[in-house]
Symmetry: C2
Subunit: 600 residues, 2 copies
Amino acid sequence: MQEILIQNLNKRIKMDPHKNLMTQLMEHQIFIDHPCNGKGTCRKCRVRIVKGDVTTLTETEKQHLSSGELAEGIRLACLIYPLTEMTVETLQKEAACQVLTQGALPEFEYHPSIEKKKIQLQRPSLENQTSMEESLLKAAKAQSVDWELLHPMPPYQKMLTTVCRYGHCYQLEEGDTADQLYGIAVDIGTTTIAASLVNIRTGAELGVTSMINPQHCYGSDVLTRITYQIENPETAVQAMQKTLVGKLEEAMIDLCQTLQINPAHVYEMTVAANTTMLHTLLGISAESIGISPYAPAFITSKDLKAAAIGFQKMPAMNIYCLPSVSAYIGADIVAGVFSCQLQQRKETRLLIDIGTNGEMVLSHEGKLSACSCAAGPALEGMNISNGMRAAKGAIEDIEIDRSEIKLKVIENAEPVGLCGSGILAATKELLRSGMVKKNGAFIKKTELEEDHPLYQRLHINGKKREFLIAEGNQPIYITQSDIRQVQLAKGALLSGFYALLDQAGITIDQLDEIIVAGQFGAHLSADHLVETGILPRETKEKISYAGNTSKTGAYMALMAVDARKTMENLAQEIQYKELSTHPDYEKLFRDSLEFPKLED
Amino acid sequence: MQEILIQNLNKRIKMDPHKNLMTQLMEHQIFIDHPCNGKGTCRKCRVRIVKGDVTTLTETEKQHLSSGELAEGIRLACLIYPLTEMTVETLQKEAACQVLTQGALPEFEYHPSIEKKKIQLQRPSLENQTSMEESLLKAAKAQSVDWELLHPMPPYQKMLTTVCRYGHCYQLEEGDTADQLYGIAVDIGTTTIAASLVNIRTGAELGVTSMINPQHCYGSDVLTRITYQIENPETAVQAMQKTLVGKLEEAMIDLCQTLQINPAHVYEMTVAANTTMLHTLLGISAESIGISPYAPAFITSKDLKAAAIGFQKMPAMNIYCLPSVSAYIGADIVAGVFSCQLQQRKETRLLIDIGTNGEMVLSHEGKLSACSCAAGPALEGMNISNGMRAAKGAIEDIEIDRSEIKLKVIENAEPVGLCGSGILAATKELLRSGMVKKNGAFIKKTELEEDHPLYQRLHINGKKREFLIAEGNQPIYITQSDIRQVQLAKGALLSGFYALLDQAGITIDQLDEIIVAGQFGAHLSADHLVETGILPRETKEKISYAGNTSKTGAYMALMAVDARKTMENLAQEIQYKELSTHPDYEKLFRDSLEFPKLED
């Protein structure tokens, strides 16, 4: 078998001459961010060829790599095919990370809380009147045994399998089922839920599922849902819990069926989520999260039987909820900080999770500080006239080339709306083409020459201006209100960014890296982030992507008890400051609303 | 206030000239065994007057105290009244013990598992967004908080009371209820149940209740009840558990009502019982206890919510079950060993609990060994023709003085039957008067002179001989079968005693003390025990009484977490040996059946 050695990771993978190098790295969980999606234009996948031969230099590489880089043997992984056994070095900063679906995953040792063991109980004798409990204890190598397992009395001399959690034997199964050991890692976002079904014995992710958070019917953002709870104190929390648990269970049962796994063999679910979602999951009112001074009911990790919150079809399942920091820095962010190992590096690094709420954590000189800003759901494609989630038919990228508008549509379908990245791209292009001014207002039609290539696309709808993105049966517009939504999101995020740096007493120069975490963030390219002014232009080269670090954190908690402990400590270390208590925050926010000037 | 100093205990009590010294000692929980019940004949209550004056020497004292003792200032506590402030020394070996109802209670520090605390939660602020959970944690000084307490959210700035168990806050009450902190210490015997309602804040026993174990309807002894479980595998265990829990709860609710205590303020029940009773309490089959090799389902201590085993009216109650050693050395015996501090003394001491099963634990050179013998319920007044429990109308002592039979009847009522001590007394007197021979057979009427004062009382019923104990509307007999029951009990106990000594390689001479524990044992006087040959005659002076040490152990577990830990360790230290595995046990048992020869 021919191999590729990735020198900096000290990892060997099988070499396949029929696939480009990047694909092969990804298949072996070596995560390489590639916003250009393999076109060879983003330069993110640069690798250095240390030894061995690859396919010849392409025109694209000649265009995007400097002569110095070429002299050093640097190539683009997405454009080269290995020809021989070889040694390479990956150059992307987060290259030391691996991937689980979409989350950066550091190396770690498996040490799950759940263990199964095949046993056979020996009959006692008059000389050795060992109790059934002790026989079980010894056979299972457990520290304690659930007394309810003694009723009815387990049989002697038959094959049985014990299930222990944290060394406590709580389940007994007939026959040898030791291989059937599964768990679920979940990220419950306000908008979407992503879950992996994991073989706890091997750490392998057997299947992934994602779904719209069914609480959507109670409001698309956290605040609307909390308002619903305040207005319906008797029923809302329970109803929302039931909806969430029901949908989650249904999806898990479906996944089990697809994978031919007995739901009784799913022993643990680890949950990363924002603080409000965790409250709802446990049936605890999130009311206090929605009202100043935003003190949550709880932030610590939680350990419970799944049945205690309404799961009915996975009888042996326990739930571990990751710890949070505050009302608006949830377990999803703690998971992100942990899975990016933000706290372990000497560099000054910032983790940013862009969603309905934008959360940021700064790691500087061993200290972790965090803030949260209400970005609104615009960047997720919500509350936008023709907004939609990133599904078939969603416009995810736009380029305005004079009169021509080039669209990138998911699955190359007929465009039906704009998802988050599409909104951002449209905003950027409208700014670049001068259709939208720095202050966020559409240009007046009167200010435009009638022969301007975009003149016909700028419409007036009542008193509001709007811009035609796509014609057809279902014309797609972007409105003044849509631009304002994006502008508010940008203002909230940028002011949060500045406030956090200011608080830590550092400047942008001192920042070594900005890690964009979260499912949505992964779709917002560095170009778009800086050109819409969500982040300052000078940070562009520092931006990297870590994917769904929330689910990755949940996965690590599922596979390693130590990860839980570390995250529990991390959650206590992260200093959270309420932005509204920052001096001059109002001014900072107003200043941050202005879009940057773009060169056409 | 005038005081009496008990020099050897370094304890001062209030002096009362109107009560005899023994009564005053007992009132201050200084337990003095007094089988003669204050008649001045048993010499058990001897005290030495170190300083101060008491009432003059009585005729009885002159009769029962030697001139040497009188010279040393020794008197009988039951016959003297203090006249001045004074200093005394108690001489009884177990005098260092105190009493709880009827159990010897060593000095110990209170450190209960349950704590209550009055709190008032302060509202958080933007600068200090403390979660509700953390506010609770800090206010309650707890290590953890039950997440279910957050639903519904507790109010700020109102008076609340937290309830913590082992530092875990699990209950929240409105207003200040910190003073309402109660627990229950229970001894579940096969035949009777005794329970104390305790003020956990002060350690005071507020009320005591006792009842016949309602499982009596399933059989009077452990084996009959287990047989019932074997014969009715589907229903018996649950039915027996329900009966027991129901009756226990009913009695506790009654006691709460009498004492005007809210059952919701009873937070813990500690249970000492034999292994079978503990199995039934938890709804676990005791089948394996009844069948060789007698391996129980469990022996370790148990900690659970009372609701988990069917308690419904004490919603905040937890249950701690004391640990056992083996199928036939239960938590009641561990409690006894602990409350008598058998393990802590240098002397060679034997604890014996006489009930349907007789259990013995020997402490010799730092090692604890135990055995158990099936005595049957005869000594508890069960399975005896005119047997009854120790209640109004029960004959508890008998003296045959030529033709006259003097009876001591509980509450001086018309005699209606014989309780355990009455059976034993009758056996002893029938042996002494020659009516029953050493081999346990009644004398043949033909062997008796017609003018023998007891000739008229020896009847023939069919082929069986019986002896008329009391005439009247309801004549009371003791039959040949009754004597045989006593004889089997005696044989079982005595052979167990010898086997245990033999196993430890010691002789009776080396034995410093025999402590009779248990509710029944307390009624069996040393005279009766040795004169019926339950214990060898040479042990008579070594016998002392400790009362219901099972309930005392439960009480100590209720009041001190350390006591639980110590008993858990003790239970593991006690070496249990099955008597049937002792070499020549059959012969030992046969030899032990013979009654001793008594001087008339």
